[in-house]
Symmetry: C2
Subunit: 321 residues, 2 copies
């Protein structure tokens, strides 16, 4: 189904949820009386770090993979990503028993490559530049005829991610606001798709690193601004908005808030220490922005998406050297 | 109530559970398909790292504190501990609004001292020796008249810890075995108290570091053997069994299994990486022993107690230097 602008409707989210249920976890929501006291709000952490393949991205990837007709599925799927989308698409393709090819820069961490291969994905390396990635990816698609699944600017992906906030609305009563990290905008778009339909009173905040604040600047300017290679500890949030995610962000997001690198690392450490969760720097940006803007959230019931937990335990941001 | 040997009966566990419910979390049980595949067993992790004050010890401490009559409570409670019991007793006393004095070696980590003070506990420092600790503690008791709550060799404590396995039996159907770390034996005794009463078919394994294997040697010898200052990364498990915990261990434990330091650290890392849990080295000993004794657990439904999550994030055992 489509709405009048050609975007998914909530029935599509329900169908996606049904489709992916066998392949994902219904992740728990955790709370912390310490952090509630610190912020003056009631915080509900949706723990997608406990998700299959370690991140929410498996929702969208599973929806894309299991939504393919037999004919298309036979040719496999392909993407370019060096992050959680690569793992998630490999996992979902493995569960369906089809091939998954991932174009990755040869400089990507060996641990990430090993994880993709562990889920049965095939890696084709490119040089660490956009031109090389596009060239190599075009060749892969030509050779395999594989279905391209973009990490976020794909309505099947957005519809899959939308199942996360649907669960949260079922798990937590009377939310006032949701805060999710924003990179390319897949998760935030999913929140917009769900909440605008079933909980339109809930405010939607996107949280972004100051050092990769292209979504913030896009939101204020009213059109997409893309940064060239931003540098931030929140390495899942470096990519720019694209047309489909911009549709949701520009129409439904209440505000975009930013936090500095130090604030992000402090918030991450606080969550590890107090909530005993292994989670990524990207997932700490929401708490960092809440601590920075206490008046915006005081007294409110706030859902926070802990987007993923795939960190290198040998390179935690508070380690020296 | 008491059984014919003067030990608590299961009705005491039920009463303790009712008493402490407002002050503890009913912690979740998590699973990992990766670790199930690795071990050939079905593992159920009871996450006491998410417990109040970050460890199961708050169950026993709350039971002791809230079970005191008004008269005794007025004089406060006291203990000696530089670990989770110190935090937990301070937390519970704070919730009841009574004083808690903790005798701690002056060499204890500043973070632990700060945590005790954060919960409202008062610290009296001693030298890092048993004689100094006993001397200082005697003085504290004389001055305050405070009720001594031993970290584990106290039936109120054991009865409180017994609520953990009671929850697990409610949360997981048809368990075949439970594996819990053993130091002084408080948690293991609690498991014995509960399981021998309501699930007598469930095997009870205690998991211990090879380098602090006094419980293992006691179990094999048939009497308590105490080590002098063992050294292990599992710093919660250095203390010896005492008469009350020996009663349970010698009567109800199926076997005690041990693991080396490297095996403990590897298992800890595996849980952090795959389950996204911040937990203590002590809590990794059960998985380490299961990986070491696959035939003992293959095909079984095994409950594992993740006892706590209070680690120093700047000194993780896989960090260099």
């Amino acid at each position: 189904m489509k709405d009048q602008d050609g975007f998914p409707v909530f029935e599509d989210v329900v169908a996606a949820h049904e489709r992916i249920k066998p392949y994902i976890h219904r992740t728990p929501v955790l709370t912390s009386s310490y952090l509630d006291e610190l912020t003056g709000a009631s915080l509900f952490f949706k723990c997608e770090n406990f998700q299959k393949a370690g991140a929410f991205k498996v929702r969208g990837a599973s929806n894309a993979v299991f939504g393919l007709d037999e004919e298309t599925a036979k040719r496999g799927v392909a993407t370019h990503s060096s992050g959680n989308h690569a793992l998630s698409l490999s996992y979902a393709a493995g569960r369906r028993g089809i091939e998954c090819t991932v174009v990755m820069p040869r400089t990507a961490p060996e641990a990430k490559k090993a994880a993709v291969r562990g889920y049965g994905g095939r890696i084709v390396e490119c040089e660490p530049s956009t031109s090389s990635r596009e060239e190599v990816f075009a060749k892969v698609q030509e050779e395999t005829g594989a279905e391209f699944v973009h990490p976020y600017n794909d309505l099947r992906i957005i519809t899959g991610q939308a199942t996360c906030s649907r669960e949260m609305v079922e798990q937590v009563e009377e939310l006032d606001a949701v805060v999710a990290p924003i990179g390319g905008g897949g998760m935030v778009s999913g929140c917009c798709l769900t909440l605008s339909n079933i909980a339109p009173g809930v405010e939607i905040y996107a949280a972004e690193p100051e050092q990769a604040d292209d979504a913030y600047r896009s939101f204020k300017a009213g059109h997409i601004i893309a940064d060239d290679a931003p540098v931030t500890v929140a390495d899942g949030l470096k990519v720019p908005l694209k047309d489909n995610t911009w549709h949701y962000v520009s129409n439904h997001v209440t505000d975009i808030l930013t936090a500095s690198e130090d604030e992000i690392v402090d918030a991450m450490r606080l969550i590890w220490q107090r909530m005993k969760l292994v989670m990524e720097p990207s997932s700490a940006v929401p708490l960092a922005t809440i601590l920075k803007n206490p008046d915006t959230f005081k007294g409110k019931r706030v859902g926070i998406i802990i987007t993923g937990g795939n960190v290198d335990l040998d390179k935690l941001p508070w380690m020296k050297g």
